[in-house]
Subunit: 238 residues, 2 copies
Amino acid sequence: MAPAPNPHPPTSPRRARLSRDLVLSTALALVDAEGLDALTMRRLGHELQRDPMSLYRYASNRAALLDGVSEMVLNELAIFPDDPDWQAQLRKIAHDLRLLALRHPNVVPLLVTRPLSTPLGMRPLGTLRPLEQILALLIDAGFTPASALHVYRAYYGFLYGHILNELQEYIVDPDENEAILRLGLHRLPAKDFPHLRALGPVLADYDGDAELDQGLSILLAGLATQLATPHARAIQQP
Amino acid sequence: MAPAPNPHPPTSPRRARLSRDLVLSTALALVDAEGLDALTMRRLGHELQRDPMSLYRYASNRAALLDGVSEMVLNELAIFPDDPDWQAQLRKIAHDLRLLALRHPNVVPLLVTRPLSTPLGMRPLGTLRPLEQILALLIDAGFTPASALHVYRAYYGFLYGHILNELQEYIVDPDENEAILRLGLHRLPAKDFPHLRALGPVLADYDGDAELDQGLSILLAGLATQLATPHARAIQQP
DNA sequence: ACAACTTCTCTACACCGTAGACTGTACATG
DNA sequence: CATGTACAGTCTACGGTGTAGAGAAGTTGT
């Protein structure tokens, strides 16, 4: 008769003490590996060899858990608000964020979707850091605070849009990518989608990096003119 | 002893025959009214006074149901690929899509997120229609098919990004909007978020329409130069 | 009248998030 | 050493979810 089945489980060395960081990074790993749906409280508990209920010490909700994962991912993004060349810095941030998204594609829906159900001021602070730092960058560069906000919106909007676009066309294993893509396109009725079907080959090799950079060039050129003319400032203090 | 409790329920006049359209539009109404989480098979069944299982005749999945709702919303978007003034048409589409998003804010996460888990060729056809039609518009305007695709990407990326941005700052009831927003901002540590906090008032009155239009101007100006120079064509056939 | 087909319902299962009460351990204090 | 207190982790249970599979009811063609 063994009264306590596992007093000192000798064969499980990795049963470290829980911590918010451990919980969140395990959650992130799980999402990266198996997608958002795999991240259930029960599954995560199993992964950490703990009762699912113990997780509620470190995230009061499943929603909060998801927010935590977003935050953790965004923390990988480094921003240097003191860079004197604001355009170069914005370019760098954009490419970094793009790579981040490609590294954690399953998290992107969270990044994009969670803020929609959380008023700005109530978001996890880590999520707002990029916004604050980019504002700082722009204001340092000479923009009015108000017009810095406008520039941020145009810039970040474009950036998120690009990332979504690119991910929408990518996703599948790069190996079968072209095959599957073509297969998919072949399904389209030729009558209704002539252009789309014809573009199969072009769709297949999408150089997201180049495309992003080109878009940024257009946008930054346009935005820089706002800095040159005092036009923007006129809005704030006429 | 009532053997059949409800042979001809006389008090429910609206028990029409089901159809995919009825199912989807009821689903959309439900999402609009109570959000995405309210759209469960059981709830929708209840709404239609049918057993939840009957829905599987018209959408083989919950995921397929969501796709159907996206499709239904996108069908509200009218595009005129024959418009000779492509820039004006792109502007119009952008504003229309923005209004569509504001009319169905709860559906936006679907619009943005579902394609991420569906290879392009496998999406509901209604979802691809805008892409095809915009390509047609651009090609008619003189763009190479390949560069039309690039223009589409820059344009649609920017557009989606803007919509996400705007919705992220809006969401709450316009009444309490400013109050809640300020309250939220007040929560931020002044030390770490000076710029963001200072921008409270500016954040509160966001003229999304103007902002979108301004961004479009920048972008379209940039894109038009590609049409002028044969630069883009050089990429395809050197 | 019968049969074939479609539409809708019933039952059941495995899984989900999480409330609430509980156990066990760690440590500060007497 | 004893004891109180805080905290970490657990257990059980409840109401909800999507959906497989078999069956009932309704509709239509002959």
